[in-house]
Symmetry: C3
Subunit: 258 residues, 3 copies
C-alpha cells in the first residue's frame, strides 16, 4: 500500500544525469516521493546521501508534482547522521573535516528551507538526530505509532541543527524544546503530536494506506496549493519588521547574499 510502489526505480536527478545510489525517488499521482534507501543502516545519512537529497529536492522543485514526501525504506525512518562520517579524516585533518561538514550541512538545511512546495514527512519508524530537527521545516508530518523522535546531541557533545533551536521553541515553547534539544529526551509519536511537532499519529497496521489515501486526495486539490502559500509567513513577517513590503526572503537567501 505504499505510494509510488509501482514506479520505485532509481530516478535521474534533474539536470545531472546521475541516478541515486542511496534514495528511491519516484513521481506518481502528482507527488514526488524521496525514500531514504539504506535500510540495512537504518537509513543513516552519509555525505553522498546528503548530496543526493539536495539533488532530489531540486528535482522535486522543478518537476510537475504538487508536493514532496520524505519517507524511509524498511523499519526505520532515519537514524540520523551516519557516525562513520566522523571517522574518515580527510587530508587537512579534523579542522578541514569540520569545515567541509559545516558547509555541506548549510547547503542541506538550505535545501529544505527553500523548497517552494509543501513538504511532507511520512515517518514510518524511529527518527533520530537531523531527521528530527528538520521536521520544524515541514508542512505536514504523519507518523506511525511505532515512530519515536530522539535528538541525543548533548550526549555526543554536539549541537542541535536543522533550525531546531529556532523552530522547536516556537512550536512547543522553550521549556519543552530544551528537554529535547539540550537534555536528550526521547518522544513517542503521541507525545510529539501533543507538542505540535507532528500532524497526526496512525496505527501501524493501517499507516501506509491511510496516509497515502489522504495524500493522493490532497494532490487532487487545485494547483495553487503547491505555489504561493508556503511562502506567505516570511513575506508578512518581513513587511512587519522592515517597514516596507518586500519579496520573500528566507534565511538561506540572506546567507547567500552576504
Amino acid at each position: 500500500a505504499e505510494g509510488g510502489s509501482s514506479a520505485q526505480l532509481a530516478a535521474k536527478p534533474a539536470g545531472s544525469g546521475a541516478t541515486y545510489q542511496t534514495l528511491l525517488v519516484t513521481t506518481e499521482d502528482d507527488i514526488t516521493t524521496i525514500k531514504l534507501n539504506r535500510p540495512a543502516k537504518k537509513n543513516a545519512i552519509t555525505p553522498e546521501m546528503y548530496e543526493e537529497i539536495i539533488a532530489a529536492l531540486e528535482q522535486a522543485t522543478n518537476d510537475d508534482s504538487k508536493f514532496a514526501v520524505f519517507t524511509g525504506a524498511g523499519d526505520f525512518y532515519c537514524s540520523g547522521n551516519d557516525l562513520s562520517n566522523f571517522t574518515k579524516i580527510p587530508e587537512g585533518g579534523v579542522q578541514e573535516m569540520a569545515r567541509q561538514g559545516g558547509e555541506l550541512l548549510r547547503r542541506y538545511v538550505r535545501a529544505y528551507i527553500d523548497f517552494p512546495k509543501p513538504l511532507v514527512a511520512v515517518v514510518n519508524g524511529p527518527a533520530v538526530g537531523i531527521s528530527v530537527t528538520v521536521l520544524g521545516l515541514f508542512d505536514l508530518v504523519y507518523a506511525t505509532e511505532r515512530a519515536t523522535f530522539h535528538t541525543p546531541f548533548s550526549q555526543l557533545g554536539q549541537s542541535a541543527e536543522g533550525c531546531s533551536s529556532y523552530t522547536f521553541p516556537r512550536i512547543m515553547g522553550p521549556s519543552k524544546a530544551s528537554e529535547l534539544l539540550l537534555f536528550n529526551k526521547k518522544l513517542t509519536a503521541t507525545q510529539a503530536c501533543e507538542l505540535g511537532l507532528i500532524t497526526e499519529v496512525f496505527p501501524d497496521s493501517s499507516f501506509q494506506s491511510e496516509v497515502w489515501t489522504r495524500l493522493k486526495a490532497y494532490a487532487r486539490l487545485p494547483p495553487q496549493v503547491s505555489r504561493t502559500r508556503r511562502r506567505q509567513p516570511a513575506r508578512i513577517q518581513n513587511r512587519h519588521q522592515k517597514g516596507r513590503p518586500t519579496r520573500l526572503k528566507w534565511p538561506s537567501e540572506v546567507v547567500r547574499a552576504k
Copy 2:
C-alpha cells in the same frame, strides 16, 4: 441570557449617522457587542457587511467600552465570505473586481489588527473561512461545543487570509496549521481548543450564560485592561529587532506608511 439582549436595536456607527443593516451593535455593561445579523444566510459576509464591521470596530474604538465582542445571530457564527460576492462582476470586469476585493480585505483585516482594546469572539455555532482565519488576531475566543472551524480555501482555489498564514503556525506549529490552511481539515471546538486557537469550550446548553457572566466580570476590572496591554508584544518585538525602542507599530501602520 445573551449579553446586550435588552438593547439589541440597530445602533448608529460613530460619526456616520447611518444605522447598520447587517449587524446589531450594542453597548451594555461596558462591553460593545457586534452581532452578525444575517441569520437566514448563516451570517455570510457581503461587501456591505465588511464595511459595516469596519465601522462598528471604529465605533467600539471610540466609545467607553472596555472591550469588543463578536458573535452571530441564529445557529451559525459566520459562514465566511458570501460566495455571491464573486458573481456580481462590476464594470471593469473580473480584474477590477479582484482589485476592489483586495483593497476591501486589506482595510477589513487592518481594522482587527489595529483595534486597541481586547477583542473577544463568542463563537455560537459553526465558523467558516475568514471568520476563522482572523481568530488569531483575537484576545479571547469562547466557543460552544457545537462550533466547528473550517477554512476550505484550497478546495476553492483561494488563499487563506486574515494573517492566518502568519498567526496559525505561531499558535499551533506549522505541521498542524498546514492541514487546516492548505488541506481543508475541519476542526471540532475541542480540537481547536487543544491547538490553542480558542480559549475554552462550553456546553451548548449553558454557553451564553457562562460566557456572559464571565465577560461581565472581566468588564468590571480596572480600566487599564482596555488600554496598554494588547499593544505590548509588538513594541517589545520592535525594540528587539531594530536596536532601539520604538513606538508601537502594527503591520497595517506600516502598510499605510509605504
Copy 3:
C-alpha cells in the same frame, strides 16, 4: 532529598564580599541553586531580594556550574512582588518610587534574559506574579502537582512584566495568554504543562527526589550544554531579520546600547 542540602549556607555573591540575606545560594554537583528564602513571607520579593537575585545570577554566570536552578524554601515557590514595596514612599514621592521601581525591574528581567547557561525552575509550590511571568525565559520548568500559577495583575491595576506579553502568546497562543495575563485566570500545574509553560509535573511526594535525580544526570552531560545553545535562537533570528549574520544580541543588550 533536596539538591544542595548539604551545603545550604549563605554564600558570598561573586565580587561583592556580601552574604545573601534573602537567598540560599549553593553550588553542588555542578549545579548552582538559588533558593528564595523568606518562607514566612511565602518568598515574596523585596527590593533587597531583587538585588540579591541579580547578584546570584552574576555569581552563577561566573562559577563552574553547568546550569542554575531557582526554587523556594518552604511550601511556596514565590508569592511575587512583596506588596509592602508599594507602601514605603521614598523622598521624591510616588513618581520617584515608580521610576526607581521601573529601573530595578529592568535590571532584574535583564539578568534572566542575559544569563548564559540553561536556567531551571523547580517550582515547589504556588507561584504568583513576577515569579510566573519570567518563566517564559527559563529552559526547564519542573513543578509539583501542588503548584499553581497565577498572574492577577489587572485586579491590581498593574501590567504583566517579565517579557510575558511577548513570551506567553508565543508559547500558548494569544487566546490562552490573554486569559492569564489580562483576566487573572489561575492555572493548575497540569494546565500549565498542557499549555507548554512548564516542562513536566511530578507527584508532590516524589517531586524533590525525581527532579534532582534528573538534574544531577543532566549536569554530567558534556560541558557544551552550558555554553552555546541557549543563545542560538536569537542569533538565527537576527540573521534572518537583518540580512547579515551577527553576533548574539538579546533585548537587554539593545536597551543598554541605546
